[in-house]
């Protein structure tokens, strides 16, 4: 799905803090199983601090305004995370912990999942959150109805999903055709937040305006073009195990304002008109760290990568692909263009925040012009033309890079231009094909013969993304999410094996095998990581980014110190 934004900076200065929280949350997760008592206790001990933390409205300056308050786009995940709960939650290091489901069991053939649903939870429209409600949601995601279909869940589950049903008021059963281990990961992503079936019946339009979940905040009003007003859900009783406290959120609400313009967004933070703002401009990075609390999450799934069109020359030849990877100092390009703030990601297959990430692959294909030239000679691109561009039977070594200029901010664009320059030395004639969002969605420059390299990415918790990126075109079903057009059935087998393996170690091994294979064959070359950054005024504490998912800001635990 299109990104929040491509941007990034280094400084996990709140790493320790996160550690603490995770520890806490996991502990809590275990404790939750015998619910009621502990819950009460939890509430009791939270009680004292609460009164001090209560109150205030968070003025949050966000980036883009989505067309609808839920859906497949990251911009929509951010919002949905505030007002809906998922069936399960996922911790930083990939553990699945309880949320709406207090516990679950998986049949031996790994095809039947049975979830125990937390009692006494209500959607904010009063509809009870029970097994049936959740089953309706899930079935809707995989239906063909444009109103209910879930563009994130569908590509993951279509092949394996069979049905979801309520076997008891609080017992949900999901049946699969084939085992699919990442199911829980998928269920933990915000786009799979559970919405009130009663509300859903109102139709897409109404739900886009005022979706109803069971989350810590309630969508009060969406002033299009301006902001979304959330107010606290006073009866909130279903926080995930990853949360830091129980009961309703501390703040009275969120004023979720849309400032597409970077200058205004960050400016409003500078002038104190916002309490927290999304996506810190890299020019402002140092400044931001000196003034504000800065949160940053490097998203899982694929990094921002150069997908090389492998179905036709020149990149149908792995040697040329590797040569291209070697030919440019991508590391330098990224680090300079992003003012040294964005870590380079050499691993084209998986982003470093995914559990299955292999560190040493992060530095694969370092800048080596000599190697690049050797590989190209080897591949038969021996002649040169006047401009020093390599030729093979008269054809110049042309590389057109298509990308959406709206995804790739100027920094990234400059990085590409650096690569363009350096690759030329190796004899690549690199042309940039920036495409604005409008044309991009219209598929401009993305036709089968329009590009040799496409710059795309997909944010996800981890390696389960492989299914989406690398599923080959089987029985005429074109995989539209594979811009590399890279077909490798053995790779596909490995991926499917991994998906069906429920032994953590084995699965990771399988995924890493696939990962190695990918890096080695270079159908996609690493470029940059994607990240979510958030800056907050110092008096606003305990916002956290949901690293279990794709780093959505979570305001449930946030509170102001000192009355404002």
């Amino acid at each position: 799905m299109p990104p929040s934004v491509v941007r990034s900076l280094s400084v996990p200065l709140e790493r320790p803090r996160r550690r603490k929280r995770n520890a806490a949350s996991i502990g809590l997760a275990l404790a939750v199983l015998p619910q009621i008592g502990v819950m009460a206790a939890a509430l009791a001990q939270e009680g004292l601090a609460d009164s001090a933390k209560r109150g205030g409205i968070i003025r949050y300056g966000h980036f883009q305004e989505p067309p609808c308050l839920f859906g497949g786009w990251v911009q929509q995940w951010y919002l949905q995370r505030q007002y809906s709960d998922n069936l399960v939650a996922r911790t930083q290091d990939g553990q699945i912990v309880p949320w709406l489901a207090t516990s679950w069991s998986i049949s031996d053939d790994k095809k039947i999942y049975t979830f125990e649903i937390k009692p006494n939870v209500k959607f904010t429209d009063g509809t009870p959150v029970d097994a049936q409600a959740i089953a309706d949601n899930i079935n809707g995601w995989l239906s063909d109805s444009p109103d209910l279909r879930n563009p994130t869940a569908a590509p993951y589950l279509t092949d394996s999903f069979e049905s979801a049903s309520a076997t008891a008021p609080l017992r949900l059963r999901i049946t699969l055709r084939t085992p699919f281990q990442p199911l829980l990961n998928v269920l933990s992503q915000s786009s799979q937040g559970i919405l009130s079936p009663t509300a859903l019946k109102r139709g897409l339009a109404a739900n886009c305006e005022k979706p109803v979940g069971s989350g810590p905040f309630i969508v009060e009003k969406w002033n299009h073009g301006k902001d979304v007003i959330f107010r606290r859900n006073p009866d909130y009783n279903s926080p995930p195990a990853t949360a830091q406290h129980q009961g309703p959120a501390y703040v009275d609400g969120i004023d979720w304002r849309f400032f597409p313009d970077q200058t205004v967004r960050y400016g409003s933070l500078l002038t104190g008109e916002s309490d927290t703002a999304y996506d810190i401009p890299s020019v402002a990075w140092k400044d931001a760290n000196s003034r504000f609390t800065v949160l940053r999450h490097i998203t899982g799934g694929t990094p921002l990568r150069l997908a090389l069109y492998s179905a036709r020359p020149p990149f149908d030849d792995v040697l040329v692909r590797r040569a291209f990877a070697y030919s440019a100092d991508r590391k330098a390009a990224i680090e300079s263009s992003f003012l040294g703030s964005l870590p380079f990601e050499g691993n084209g297959a998986l982003s470093q925040s995914s559990p299955e990430y292999i560190k040493e692959l992060g530095q694969s294909y370092p800048y080596d012009i000599g190697k690049a030239n050797r590989l190209l000679d080897q591949a038969g691109w021996t002649e040169h033309n006047g401009q020093g561009i390599r030729l093979k039977n008269g054809k110049p070594l042309l590389v057109r890079i298509s990308y959406s200029s709206s995804f790739l901010k100027p920094d990234g664009e400059q990085a590409l231009q650096v690569i363009q320059q350096q690759a030329k030395a190796a004899g690549f004639d690199v042309r940039l094909q920036p495409t604005n969002q409008a044309d991009f969605f219209a598929g401009r420059n993305l036709g089968p013969n329009d590009y040799e390299v496409a710059l795309l990415y997909w944010v996800a918790p981890g390696a389960e993304i492989f299914r989406i990126s690398w599923k080959p075109d089987l029985n005429g079903q074109l995989n539209r999410f594979n811009p590399s057009r890279y077909h490798d059935l053995t790779l596909w087998d490995v991926i499917q094996k991994a998906e069906q393996s429920f032994d953590g170690a084995e699965r990771t091994a399988l995924y890493q095998q696939a990962e190695r294979k990918l890096v080695e064959n270079a159908p996609a070359v690493g470029f940059a990581v994607l990240d979510v950054t958030l800056a907050a005024q110092l008096n606003l504490k305990d916002i956290w980014l949901d690293r279990g998912s794709v780093g959505e800001p979570v305001f449930y635990d946030a509170y102001f110190t000192g009355r404002k």
Binding site: D261, Y266, D287, S336, S405, S406, Q417, P434, Q437
Partner: protein
Amino acid sequence: MSSSEVLGGAGAFPHLLRTLARVRTVPLRVYAAVTIVGFFLAAAIAPKWLETHDPLAIDLTASLQAPSIAHWLGTDQSGRDLYSRIVEGAGQSLSIGLGATALSLSLALILGVTAGLVGGVVDTVLSRLFDVLFALPTLFLALLFVTVFGTTVLTEIIAVGLGTAPGYARMIRGQVLAVKGAGYVEAAKALGHPYLRIVRRHILPNAMNPLTAMMTLGVGQAIIWASGLAFLGLGVAPPAPEWGALLNAGRNYVIYAWWLEIMPGLAVVVFALSVTVLGRYLGERLEGKS
């Protein structure tokens, strides 16, 4: 009569040069304008002459430098010389401006003259058409085109051209009507000249008199519109650093690197200003004021 005994109240298009040649009467600002326009035209035609650096050459050691001797207008994030980039961008920006103006004027000319000369139903219909197009804000029209056909130089030219045409068309139509009713047209008729000859020798030349002025004025506006599109991120995309694109990119740095936004903007303003000064001057000349 003394009032009308103005000397140098000259006028006809072919005599434009002669008129301009009366150097002593040309005000200083016009020289300045000519120089600036000349500069930008040169930049458009042969940017390499004027560039101090390679506009695409990335020099990471010189990232985000303020204007200095080395870099007259400063550098951008990857150390590219802004001055050279503006020079480089002149080509695309001007071609959009000129193209759009040429298009809108030729459209306006054809329609306006037809409406004015033929009159009757044709006039009514065409005038309505002008009204309709005139009723649509230029930028909106441009946006519609971009939405539908995507952004290419051509789309922008068409969009901006179409957007600005109706205004001109109305003007020209009025001009034609005025000339049609002029005494000298009747005088020519009284001399027994055929209508077409009168049209060719009297009406068209006089109706087109203001065009040169409108042309120059138009180019400035067209460039402003085009860069407006680019400013919304809907312009023709890089690599060529079109001015609007520079403006759009500069916006993100404006707090910390003002020059990236100010300088390209100044380029647009200075150019538009010069052509306006030039246009107004020509206009006055051609209308015989002085």
